[in-house]
Symmetry: D2
Amino acid sequence: MTIRIAIIGAGIMGADHARIFATELPSVRLQVLCDAATDRAKALADQLGAQDVVSNPEAAILRDDVDAVVIASPDHTHAALTLTAINAGKPVLCEKPLSPNMDECIQVMKAEEALGRQMVQLGFMRRFDPSYSDMKLALTDGTLGQALMMHNFHRNVDTPPTGFEASMAITSSACHEFDVARFVLGTEFKSITAFAPAGVAGKVGPVFMVLETVDDQIVNIEVNNNATYGYDVRGELVGEKGSVFLNTPVTSKYNLGFKGYESYPADWRKRFSEAYRLQNKDFLQFVRSGKTSAAAADAWDGYCSTAVAEAGVAALASGQKTAVSLIEKPAFYK
Amino acid sequence: MTIRIAIIGAGIMGADHARIFATELPSVRLQVLCDAATDRAKALADQLGAQDVVSNPEAAILRDDVDAVVIASPDHTHAALTLTAINAGKPVLCEKPLSPNMDECIQVMKAEEALGRQMVQLGFMRRFDPSYSDMKLALTDGTLGQALMMHNFHRNVDTPPTGFEASMAITSSACHEFDVARFVLGTEFKSITAFAPAGVAGKVGPVFMVLETVDDQIVNIEVNNNATYGYDVRGELVGEKGSVFLNTPVTSKYNLGFKGYESYPADWRKRFSEAYRLQNKDFLQFVRSGKTSAAAADAWDGYCSTAVAEAGVAALASGQKTAVSLIEKPAFYK
Amino acid sequence: MTIRIAIIGAGIMGADHARIFATELPSVRLQVLCDAATDRAKALADQLGAQDVVSNPEAAILRDDVDAVVIASPDHTHAALTLTAINAGKPVLCEKPLSPNMDECIQVMKAEEALGRQMVQLGFMRRFDPSYSDMKLALTDGTLGQALMMHNFHRNVDTPPTGFEASMAITSSACHEFDVARFVLGTEFKSITAFAPAGVAGKVGPVFMVLETVDDQIVNIEVNNNATYGYDVRGELVGEKGSVFLNTPVTSKYNLGFKGYESYPADWRKRFSEAYRLQNKDFLQFVRSGKTSAAAADAWDGYCSTAVAEAGVAALASGQKTAVSLIEKPAFYK
Amino acid sequence: MTIRIAIIGAGIMGADHARIFATELPSVRLQVLCDAATDRAKALADQLGAQDVVSNPEAAILRDDVDAVVIASPDHTHAALTLTAINAGKPVLCEKPLSPNMDECIQVMKAEEALGRQMVQLGFMRRFDPSYSDMKLALTDGTLGQALMMHNFHRNVDTPPTGFEASMAITSSACHEFDVARFVLGTEFKSITAFAPAGVAGKVGPVFMVLETVDDQIVNIEVNNNATYGYDVRGELVGEKGSVFLNTPVTSKYNLGFKGYESYPADWRKRFSEAYRLQNKDFLQFVRSGKTSAAAADAWDGYCSTAVAEAGVAALASGQKTAVSLIEKPAFYK
Ligand SMILES: [Mg+2]
Ligand SMILES: [Mg+2]
Ligand SMILES: [Mg+2]
Ligand SMILES: [Mg+2]
């Protein structure tokens, strides 16, 4: 059965999802590309062979010839479009965040509960990255013993010329670490403390966060959006018996000019290309089977990362350790 | 257009090709699986959803509902089946070697010349491995300057319990290096010298080869089929300005028991899974377009690697530097 | 001129200092070994060729045939013995801490001020480790631009069977990082926050600290005294333009049993053997010249690390960010 | 007992030996520095505090106030000066080669035999490099099982502007690998084959050698004296159960400008500084005890490396596998 996909949003992420479905995965068809800027949607459709291009996202979702939906539109539209899809009975792969607003996340969960089955997969692709899979396996198979700490480093080359505020280090960048640490450790956070070094004049500086889990593990996260030297994501899980490093796979090492080196990419796409491919493959399997996989992030995961981010922003403003307050986890998501 | 594939041979390699086409690539269908042992072909078809299972390879190739052919049957059948496909006008992805016999390789080239277009892609998948792509790029973009030497190491955990003779280190293992060194350097070999250390009692020992190219570069190859510690392929291209190492991408590093370590796989499948996927994707593009890519190995490449292997076997027997004699390269392949 | 040394304390550290002076450095003589347990002092003297063995430390320091003193006795005796040496006009290499008590540290500084010259070098040997030297150089030569963060990881295999309390992770282990971060960054701390994950039942668990400098840099330190897998000290200095990793030099890598690995040592002696050698060489130069080197830790450095440790212990107890309160730096140490 | 040393030759190597004895090792005194160019000997003596400076090497060796001799004069003088020292009963640390001439090497052995004890240690410092020590240990302790192959890579940044001929890649550079491979494997060579890629116009190109041992192991050596990118010595010992890599210890890794890198030094001195220090320490122990250590190279080792180099030069000229012919090993050296 070929799955017919509507992709809402033809920006960087939407275009990447379209490319993956069109050129990397079997049994799927780009049925509709939707973007308010129909020009860029049209250009993408021409390049990848999508069937149709539209500008109204609700209409796109509701079309009879659409089996499943990818939401890659601006963040504030995610929840409403996700609800449209749930109500239409169409599975959704929604880019993170589910919503920047916790209440909206709760509404999505309620809609799923009302329907009686999960419809939403969140685009926390790192759960499908083989490095994090290895890390989780080292815990679940007993290699590491009990988990104690997880150290995370998230570095981008630089911030966009406009529109990137300090809090986005938490809401936009760190939410990947919030989610993947929850995933690897299999637990929830109870507090977050945030530190901000002075940084370089005129640039958004780094943020250093320390989180405590309900199981009293420590998770720390450096987000450095002006790291300059390259896109670089590192991590280490420390357990009772040893530790596991997330390792960026590199294909070549060079000896030139008195340096023995590996190259850093300029952004995340190469680093996580395999994670995106596996995530989207998993989504197709979810559409086919109606069953979420153990790895995939769901609406509860989306809610939690928004809740942690909100506590993190407050912690950064106050300089105080700040509680992460979650509603009780609905039995539906257990 | 969905390409309908016949896969001849349902052993390890045939099964892996079937899996890649069925689960990793778009716009392709497993039309026929063919194996003398119909049981294992049937089991594979059930698992992957192939349309049909047969036992006669010629009949499979000639079926109207087959657009292209993958040959993964025993080595000595490769050339004859390839000729069948060429004469039927069907593109072929043939596992290496094209033939263990140089005359048969020449016959295949003649058949393509007679037809007036290339039909054959050889399964030298390393040309699609990103590590070798980086290496070649470092030459073609001038990073390394002039190429001087290429060091290659090819290690398997152990040999099969029966049937693996010393010469197969050259004909079956080293032929990957013969081909990929020709590819990276863009040249041909003119001589080969082979050395064999004493090895361990009762085991096929390593072979160490030194080849000279017509451009007077040196290529050396260690093949160690009983390396014990893991499957490990290494390489280094040394140029005027520096060198490039082939690096095995690893996703994790572990700290346990007084060791900081990376794991080696037991065989080649994980190491070269991306190369196989890209190769087979390239083959589908070849089927669609009728145009061979710059990376893909063709019948001439198949001939050359067989010629080098034959000289290598002679060199190992004689202990002498042995000339690699090639026919003049047909204009058709230039 | 051959410098005649008295070593006070013949435990692990005293024995190592004795070995370095006796077998690794020129122009120095082990004049007196002093330990309450004269047996072990005698055994050490026999092994290394010391001239004399005594049990009274004050008498040892005051001997006419002693030019300089190494203090490696129990921590609580450091300050008093250091004062004895200062008053006798004899240079001291004092193992850390100068004193566990800030007032005693201040007394030592006052004694030096009264004498009008520095007499004390603290045994913070990491300042002489080539890795930290590289790190400091990358700041001072402008390679990194402005310093933003320093990440530190300090892991021991396990704690002694008795007598190791949780606070010692801060007072005994982390004080190395307190000092070397001050040294590399060239600044002082203003606050410390401490987090303690639950840890493993029956074992002293890790402590994770975050410190702020007066220049608003962030320094974080993991101390994990039951890391199990090996002795491992890591660090990274993050600046405006990039970062530098402390790298543990390894001489060999092994491929065995499906692992490619480096070995971890069981304790710090091998990792920092070169740092100790260079530190003690620097001390001899100090004795000869009367001039402290730029790298060496002095009494002020000893005071500061004790002050930070005291704040750290309070921070761990309270769970609150805790101010580091220092007296004004005496002009004498500027 | 303080050992009084005469150093013959105040060039790069002589100066480095003088520095090591004067500043890095106990119980030794620079008694005499000897160089035809007394100016540079004088400058060195002033810097390091040598007692005396002379220009006549034989006279220097014979002085009553000299206990032991380091020979770092031009290669062709080594054997004669070594004989002078032997006849005077003074232990010698002779820079490699013992002599470029096999007959002279034999004369030195005869002089030692006549005297009835070994007097000569050859300056093959790599035997004291911890990386090679690890490698040898992995053989002798059974970790690797039986040794099969040893791969060696020896790269210098560039050749001196004048006076460096192609054969010196073998006689001057590769002799380190000849010796250390004999040391690690504990065996002798029986043949050598040499290959020379075309190289870069106007530069001395690389040489690639393959040697067979009498135990039928394979040792290959790349010497690349114009490697451009840095001084780099690599090696791998391959055994029955796995392999060991020689690893260049590095103290820091940098992340800058889209590269994660380690730095290469410009020449050998930093890479092998610890080996030289340990070698010279071992020599002092030899002088004191009259007993050669297991690691130290002796006159037989000097003879063998000259014999292999001579065969290597012939092999390069002829393009043929060339026998290494050794005299029978005198019982005196067994
Ligand atoms: Mg899930
Ligand atoms: Mg081609
Ligand atoms: Mg100082
Ligand atoms: Mg010896």
